[in-house]
């Protein structure tokens, strides 16, 4: 049952991701990316990483995509849709990405083992996060503060 759900949400996520980078309308692409991230959260649930799945839906679906859509509100979406895609760059992108994927999967297929879908909620993750990895955690909080101040300082209108 879990495996069927994994493949279902994995296929949905990949298809919506492809839709999001190929659609002419950027708003449609953003909404497709939102669906892709939410089904990726469901994929995390099917392998047992429940807390990561919840955080994925909240942060990616609720914060990052909404930030992109709000930034798009200030722009002219019709003019963005007139963007011309060069055939040569699309062919180069397809060639590079397929080559990279084949190389990675050839190496990855050598890794043996079995995925154990043990449930990891907030309790299991809190212990290493707040003891073993406390310093990186604090550094990340400073990074977020710096990013907030920097974003406000850059986007502010000059007097």
């Amino acid at each position: 049952m879990k495996e069927i759900l994994f493949y279902l949400f994995g296929v949905i996520s990949a298809v919506l991701a492809l839709l999001s980078v190929t659609s002419k309308n950027v708003i449609k692409g953003g909404v497709a990316l939102l669906g892709s991230f939410i089904s990726l959260g469901a994929v995390y649930f099917t392998v047992g990483a429940e807390f990561v799945g919840i955080i994925q839906v909240i942060v990616y679906g609720g914060a990052i995509i909404v930030l992109y859509l709000f930034a798009l509100l200030t722009m002219d979406v019709k003019k963005i849709a007139e963007e011309k895609v060069r055939g040569s760059s699309a062919a180069a992108g397809a060639f590079l990405s397929i080559l990279l994927m084949i190389l990675l999967l050839l190496e990855a297929s050598k890794i043996a083992g079995k995925v154990k879908p043990a449930v990891s909620g907030a309790k299991e993750l809190a212990l290493p996060l707040f003891f073993k990895y406390l310093l990186p955690f604090e550094i990340v909080s400073i990074l977020l503060l710096v990013a907030t101040i920097g974003a406000v300082a850059i986007a502010r209108r000059e007097e």
Binding site: K2, E3, G10, A14, A17, S20, V21, G29, G30, L33, S36, F37, V43, V47, A49, V52, I55, V59, Y60, A63, I64, Y68, A71, M75, D76, K79, I80, E83, K84, V85, S89, A90, G93, L96, S97, I98, L100, M101, L105, A108, S109, I111, G113, K114, V115, K116, P117, S120, E124, L125, P128, V140, L143, L144, V146, A147, G150, A151, I154, A155
Partner: protein, 99 residues
Amino acid sequence: MTPFSLFLLSGLLLAIGLFGIVARRNVISLFFGLELILNSANVLLVGFSKLHGNYYGELFVFFVLAVAAAEAAVGLAIVVAIYRMKRSINTEDFRTLRW
């Protein structure tokens, strides 16, 4: 469940994101491709965490998420500032620094 299915999902997301970055010409679509590549790294981290039976891979997902949020905020601020100046987010119009 074999780990290969997780690797396959991660590889697909990486390939799609790379295709978007190379092929598209507007900055927002480039950011979408970037987010997809970060997500493929997250899938791989969760997969290896479940393969090895410990929680350290899943912890790294939080750090990746925080960096992705910071990158989106600063990147969008830069894009909005450039859009105010040039009235365009096409990368071919950003040629002020080109020699």
